[in-house]
Amino acid sequence: MIDATGMPQSGVLLGGTSEIGLAIIRRLATRRLGRVVLAGRDPAALEQRANELRSSGIDQVSTFVADVRDAGALDGLVSEAWARLDGVDLLLVATGDLGTAELSELSAGRVASIFEVNAGGPAAALLAFAEAMAAQGSGRLVVLSSVAGVRVRRANFVYGAAKAGLDAFAVGLSEALEGSGVGVTIVRPGYVRTRMTAGRSQAPFAVDPGDVANAVVRALETGEKIVWVPAILRLVFAGLRVLPRPVFRRLPG
């Protein structure tokens, strides 16, 4: 059950090894979250993460193996999650892959795969959970989008384009779910220090996974639908969005 202050008791993390995702789960566990399914593609890594959560005191943690590109597996996840968790209050979508933006490395297949992991798969999962949550008249869908999709850059344009698609999909889904009891929270972090960004030069306004987690908990309480982390990026991108291309191209980071 989601309580009056917006805190969920049960949740599914898609991208069960995501550093940001796990930070959010841990933070929510200090409030009401006690039943969790970690879903992802690497059984051993998932099991290790599950053990860490168990020893940090979360009652019920289990794992589910699914590649986000596999629609059949996602459907199985929905049924399994409802059975294991006695109703699902929260879906957290944290799958993502920066892929590549080198033209020499890109092919039709590679582009399709990056789109699948960052947009197609997450959208399919959101849709499947949204339908089941609407039937119970309550639920929260939290989507890790990215500022990379707000103004797409040369350096990661395939990833950015996919995130732009996912973000727009989530905005539309949020509208479609208006009045259903189900809410969508779209999270747009800037540079977060995780393994995904390890080795890349740090962009301005860098944050840690814990900062994203705090912002998400806050948004669940307030009902905010779009969350920028850090919050200042909302203003920054209001500017960047309209910057002429030749100027934007020369920006560092």
Binding site: D3, A4, A135, S180
Partner: protein
């Protein structure tokens, strides 16, 4: 979350439901029962299919007590027949869904008043029993169940005739049991005699919380009704400044001496015709009760109250149900809704009360409705809320960042002091503290399990707090019922211009 979740359901069907606070929201199939037969039939059907089921009255509990996600909600607010009213003894038997509002319109002109009324008269008799509600007279008259002589209860194991002598453990498991023992079909209640429909009221201001508590302790025993309104935004040495109102039903002798003030109570002195003065026609997209607005309201309310005024003649509705004058005032809190934090701590735990009032003030929690009163002795209800001591009720808008953590901290303090929070108002209690706050929980669970081993009776409140203990029954993935695929997803694509 949804604008319509707290409005009464016109007909059967799947819909979103919430309590008076408009959160949390969930979806269930509502069955309107107009009498005991229809209610029993709905129960039999749910038992057969294995669906969860809960009763619902007028939805005036604040949280999720009268709803069950994915299950069946039996709405008894349409079962309103007055079955028997004895004008000589003041004993009334009525169907479960009769409201205190309707009952008073019949009984007051006959010289009888309900022994216990909550701050709204828009509650059903069964809802009042299920929450074992209290009024401003708890220190004298106890809570609602004390005045209930018997009731008929449709349980999963069959329909029972229940009284304090017969099935007494079922009686006390139902009083305060939040609908989880069965569906109350009708009940018999002892009313109290009144000579007039007027109240004689004394009002005074208290400078701070300690002053308020001292005044209450000193002179509450002299009044049948007593309550204090607290300005929880006042700071510094004003923390807990308050307005006490205490009163009695006016005797006819008192009223005859009151001259012009008595005229509106009619020749028989018992005229009673409360009206709604206004309504909030729709939910504004934002909360109108901002911190500034609430602070200004509180300041004005405190200043407007006389330093001391004795013997004022008031109507029943002005004294007991002032909020009922504005229909659907809960909409003022906007789409996110609100909650009420109500706890009781034993006499002697005044420090806890001071600490929480202090924290409400230092955190500037914008509440315009904060009420303090003293409770008398507890009744034997396993989960009945009132217990000897102090109770504070605070309306709080939802959506404030950090609220969950703040209230969790209050829960700890209340539990440590041997107190508890009121389930009829709750939407967010820390589940781990339930057993500490309600030490007789296991006894209550035994009665429930005996009546309903399959656990047909359940509510969102039950599931959220594991009231009846978590049930490890695998739940099927919810699917939209065939034909209504569009409904849960709210707005359908066809309704927006492309």
């Amino acid at each position: 979350m949804s604008a319509a979740a707290n409005e009464p359901s016109p007909s059967d069907g799947e819909r979103l439901l919430s309590g008076w606070g408009r959160a949390p929201v969930s979806r269930a199939r509502v069955v309107k029962a107009h009498d005991g037969l229809e209610a029993t039939a709905a129960l039999a059907a749910a038992s057969a299919t294995g669906e969860r089921l809960i009763g619902r009255g007028l939805g005036r509990s604040y949280g999720d007590a009268a709803q069950v996600s994915g299950g069946v909600v039996v709405d008894l607010s349409g079962a309103t027949r007055l079955l028997c009213f004895d004008g000589a003894s003041g004993v009334v038997t009525a169907e479960a869904g009769l409201s205190i509002d309707t009952l008073l319109r019949t009984s007051v002109p006959e010289g009888w008043f309900v022994p216990v009324t909550p701050g709204t008269r828009q509650v059903t008799l069964a809802g009042a029993l299920a929450a074992d509600v209290h009024g401003k007279n708890h220190h004298v008259d106890g809570s609602f169940a004390a005045w209930v002589e018997r009731f008929k209860l449709a349980t999963a194991a069959g329909t029972l005739e229940v009284s304090k002598e017969r099935e007494s453990d079922v009686f006390w498991a139902t009083a305060g049991g939040m609908g989880l023992t069965g569906l109350v079909l009708d009940l018999t209640l002892q009313l109290i005699p009144i000579e007039s429909s007027a109240m004689v009221v004394d009002t005074e201001r208290a400078a701070d919380l300690d002053d308020c508590m001292a005044r209450m302790e000193e002179r509450d025993a002299e009044y049948r009704y007593s309550v204090a309104w607290i300005d929880c935004l006042a700071r510094g040495r004003h923390v807990g400044r308050s307005v006490l109102t205490r009163g009695e039903h006016a005797t006819s002798a008192r009223l005859e001496g009151a001259g012009r003030a008595a005229a509106r109570f009619g020749p028989g002195l018992r005229a009673y015709d409360p009206r709604e003065l206004a309504s909030v026609p729709l939910t504004p997209p934002v909360r109108l009760l901002s911190r500034k607005a609430v602070a200004a309201f509180n300041e004005a309310w405190f200043r407007k109250a006389p330093k001391e005024r004795r013997g004022e003649i008031q109507s029943i509705q002005a004294f007991f149900h002032p909020l009922d004058g504005v229909r659907e005032w809960n909409r003022l809190y906007g789409p996110r809704g609100f909650t009420q934090y109500q706890f009781v701590v034993p006499s002697g735990a005044e420090e806890t009360l001071r600490s929480i009032v202090g924290s409400l003030s230092s955190n500037q929690v914008p509440s315009f409705l904060t009420v303090l009163k003293r409770f008398g002795a507890a009744d034997p209800g396993h989960l009945s809320f009132p217990a000897k001591g102090w109770t504070l009720a605070v309306d709080i808008p939802l959506g404030l960042p950090g609220l969950s953590e703040l209230l969790d901290g209050f829960d700890e303090e209340v539990a440590a002091a041997g107190g508890r929070i009121y389930l009829a108002k709750d939407g967010r209690l820390r589940p781990e503290l339930l057993g500490t706050m309600y030490p007789r929980l296991d006894e209550w669970r035994e009665v429930c399990d005996r009546l309903d081993p399959a656990r047909t009776f359940s509510s969102d409140l039950d599931r959220r707090l594991s009231l009846r203990r978590p049930l490890r029954r695998p739940l099927r993935r919810p699917r939209t019922s065939p034909g209504s695929r569009r409904t849960p997803l709210g707005r359908s694509p066809g309704e927006v211009a492309p």
